[in-house]
């Protein structure tokens, strides 16, 4: 066994840290907080210049051909620093889908722009009436002359307000079984009939609800075969080995430890000398190690072509649940000062711990709720009957 990520990953990690120190200015971070938007054009261009928009793509497609373990080191550092990578993530995910199943024309049109950091693609999977059950999408796409007319709405279309396209899952055959009547489209956002309404959230992040009212999409922007949308979705997710939050956990602990070292308790000693504080910090450090190992395992498994589905669920479940618990626990540990909010000059650790409390609550919900992850693990890892 070897638990080292390997030299290439460590070199990349070091490079990422240097890059972040240089490029990710406090102003940029502050702007993310202020606007609630985790996308920044300047940052994206800097990432492009490093070749880090598509580090895992094969070189022949414009990537760097890095393996999933290297990418893990990179993305862990990005998350730990709170870098605005969300828009990059969704854009490149869909660019890859187009690379895999798109037409030559689609590739020509989209890939260079995506790789240049010139466009943003948002995801349109979730709808107001379906959350965990994405295949229940009700947004309709009806075929008309050389194209499709789309009617419906999508929920949590984060970045839609700055996006060039929404990658949409729409129902094209209402009579087919629910997974078999779906088709995916790349819907250009700058057109008649598309409406974007902001949705503000507990963490301060901005997302959107988007409405599509007789929106015409030329058949050119249909991605994949008609009624094969669910298969296309699986291509989108096949490179997502897990959505863990190790970087976020590390960032939180960094702030907490700094606070505990510099803040005196009632006896005048730094609070890190207290038994209870030591215990809580040590437990979090341990859970982070476990989160990291579970996440690294899924990345490693994909390098040796093992299926990562259940193991990815474990990684996501554990990391997000523990992040949430840690944030709640640490806010309480701060004592009354824990209620001082991000944005207040008196907040401990610049309000990062308080913000983590609010931010973390979303992590057990999006990208598959904890309940969905447990269903997957129970059924596919433990072989239990499909939970009802």
């Amino acid at each position: 066994m070897d638990f080292r990520l390997g030299d290439k990953s460590e070199v990349l990690r070091k490079e990422a840290r240097e890059f972040l120190r240089e490029v990710l200015t406090p102003e940029m971070v502050e702007e993310c907080y202020r606007t609630g938007v985790m996308h920044n054009v300047e940052f994206t261009k800097a990432m492009r210049d490093k070749g880090w928009l598509a580090p895992g793509w094969p070189v022949e497609y414009g990537g760097q051909g890095r393996d999933p373990i290297e990418i893990l080191a990179l993305s862990e550092e990005m998350a730990r620093a709170g870098a605005p990578t969300y828009g990059i993530g969704t854009t490149m995910m869909i660019a890859w889908v187009i690379n895999m199943v798109g037409t030559e024309e689609q590739k020509r049109e989209i890939l260079p722009k995506a790789l240049a950091g010139d466009i943003v693609i948002a995801l349109g999977f979730t709808e107001p009436e379906n959350g965990s059950d994405a295949a229940a999408a009700a947004t309709r796409a009806v075929q008309s002359d050389e194209g499709w007319t789309i009617n419906g709405s999508k929920m949590f279309t984060t970045n839609a307000h700055i996006a060039d396209y929404v990658f949409m899952l729409a129902r094209t055959d209402p009579d087919a079984p629910k997974h078999r009547g779906l088709t995916t489209f790349l819907v250009p956002m700058k057109q008649e009939g598309v409406e974007v309404q902001p949705v503000f959230t507990l963490s301060g992040e901005r997302t959107n609800i988007t409405f599509y009212n007789d929106v015409f999409v030329s058949d050119q922007w249909r991605i994949g075969e008609v009624n094969a949308g669910w298969r296309v979705m699986s291509v989108a997710f096949e490179r997502e080995h897990s959505a863990a939050f190790v970087g976020e956990q590390e960032r939180l602990l960094d702030h907490v430890v700094a606070w505990a070292r510099e803040t005196p308790g009632e006896d005048g000693l730094p609070r890190i000398e207290e038994a209870g504080v030591r215990e809580r910090i040590g437990r979090a450090a341990t859970e982070i190690e476990v989160s990291q190992l579970l996440q690294r395992r899924t990345a490693w498994m994909s390098t040796v072509d093992l299926p990562t589905h259940m193991k990815g669920s474990m990684s996501k479940l554990f990391s997000s649940e523990r992040l949430e618990r840690q944030a709640a626990d640490f806010v309480e540990m701060l004592g009354p000062d824990g209620v001082r909010g991000r944005g207040d000059p008196t907040a401990p650790a610049n309000g990062e711990i308080e913000h983590a409390l609010r931010h973390s609550k979303g992590t057990t919900i999006y990208a598959g709720t904890s309940e969905i992850q447990r269903n997957i693990i129970a059924q596919h890892e433990l072989g239990l009957p499909r939970p009802k």
């Binding site: 979730t126 379906n130 959350g131 965990s132 059950d133 229940a136 929920m155 949590f156 949705v199 503000f200 959230t201 507990l202 963490s203 209870g276 709640a328 806010v331 309480e332 540990m333 004592g335 009354p336 000062d337 824990g338 209620v339 001082r340 909010g341 991000r342 944005g343 207040d344 008196t346 907040a347 308080e354 409390l357 609010r358 609550k361 979303g362 057990t364 919900i365 999006y366 709720t369 309940e371 447990r374 939970p387 009802k388």
Partner: protein, 338 residues
């Protein structure tokens, strides 16, 4: 044993429920953020005698019992009401016990002075995170062994906080008036703090109870995989646990409030128990109420998050539940710091 409310108590509960429904529906709660104060609500509360009632009759008030006030606090919590009622009530009662507080008390009873109380002793001459401090005219604070009335300076800064409360850090300046010193000050402050613990526990019970209702209503209505999500055990069982805790927290808080008059020996211990358990319960109940909303719970537009944030902050200004439990142990078993 009798767990029924009296007819008067039921009327009290209904009156405040309807006041809050009218003056503090959730859209107004939301629009009062981040400062967390709704002047129209405050005026209504004052006009209806909500502060005055807390003051003993012999001091010119309505002479409500702590139990009556706890019942009002439950309604206050249910509405996550943006008004520093509990702190004002506790400050009024505290002033009524101090001869030097008569002047300030008169203003409180007349309804033209908003006085609240710092819930932890001042440190280095500053009363920190004083509930209602950002909108009060004056606060009562404990500075070493002196209880002082501190006028809130013009332009006092509202501390941005998780619960959108009108919190402020208030320096005890030269214009502070001494209300009591030494053992008298400490004893009066201790009673006030226990009252604040109980009433805040009441408010936390209200928060938890209403959050549970919101969560239950949502999971009955929301469908996934062809059934209401409330039919999934993963959802139903967590909510059943919370319902149990909410019932327990309400009984405990009411007992603590009742004990203030009827079982004074146990009252401090019960106040600490109620505070700790209600804080735990409100935290966990609002967690699941939000969580089972899925992404909607995360939206500011939905009410679940209003409760989620306040459950943490209203208790948090005093300290975490662990502190309360340590206090229970100390009071009961006379160890450290009793």
């Amino acid at each position: 044993m009798d767990l029924r409310l009296t007819e008067e108590q039921q009327q009290l509960v209904e009156a405040f429920a309807s006041l809050y429904a009218d003056a503090a529906p959730s859209d107004r709660v939301r629009s009062a953020e981040p400062g967390g104060h709704l002047p129209e609500l405050w005026d209504r509360l004052v006009a209806t005698g909500a502060v005055e009632m807390a003051v003993p009759e012999d001091a010119g008030g309505g002479g409500a019992s702590l139990l009556d006030l706890a019942l009002v606090a439950e309604q206050h919590g249910r509405a996550v009401a943006p008004a520093p009622l509990i702190e004002a009530q506790v400050a009024g009662r505290l002033l009524s016990r101090l001869p030097a507080g008569a002047d300030a008390l008169a203003g409180v009873i007349a309804g033209n002075r908003l006085v609240t109380v710092g819930v932890r002793p001042a440190r280095d001459g500053v009363a920190t995170l004083v509930p209602g401090g950002a909108v009060a005219d004056a606060i009562v604070a404990l500075d070493e062994d002196r209880l002082v009335l501190v006028p809130v300076p013009e332009g006092t800064r509202h501390v941005v906080n998780t619960g959108a409360m009108p919190l402020a850090d208030i320096a005890i300046g030269a214009d502070a008036t001494e209300l009591a010193t030494g053992a008298d000050a400490l004893a009066a402050y201790a009673i006030a703090l226990d009252e604040w613990r109980v009433l805040t526990a009441g408010a936390l019970v209200g928060i938890a109870q209403r959050a549970l209702e919101i969560g239950v209503a949502y999971v009955k209505e929301r469908h996934a995989f062809g059934q209401p999500i409330g039919g999934f055990q993963a959802v139903a069982h967590r909510l059943a646990d919370r319902a149990t805790e909410v019932d327990g927290a309400q009984l405990l808080t009411r007992e603590a409030a009742w004990a203030a008059a009827e079982d004074p020996q146990r009252a401090p211990e019960l106040a600490a128990m109620a505070f700790g358990f209600a804080a735990d319960t409100a935290r966990d109940t609002t967690y699941y109420a939000l969580h089972f909303h899925g992404g909607y719970g995360f939206m500011l537009e939905y009410d679940a998050q209003l409760y989620f944030r306040r459950a943490r902050a209203w208790a948090g200004v005093l300290g975490e539940p662990r502190d309360a439990y340590r206090r229970v142990s100390d009071l009961r078993y006379a160890a450290v710091g009793a």
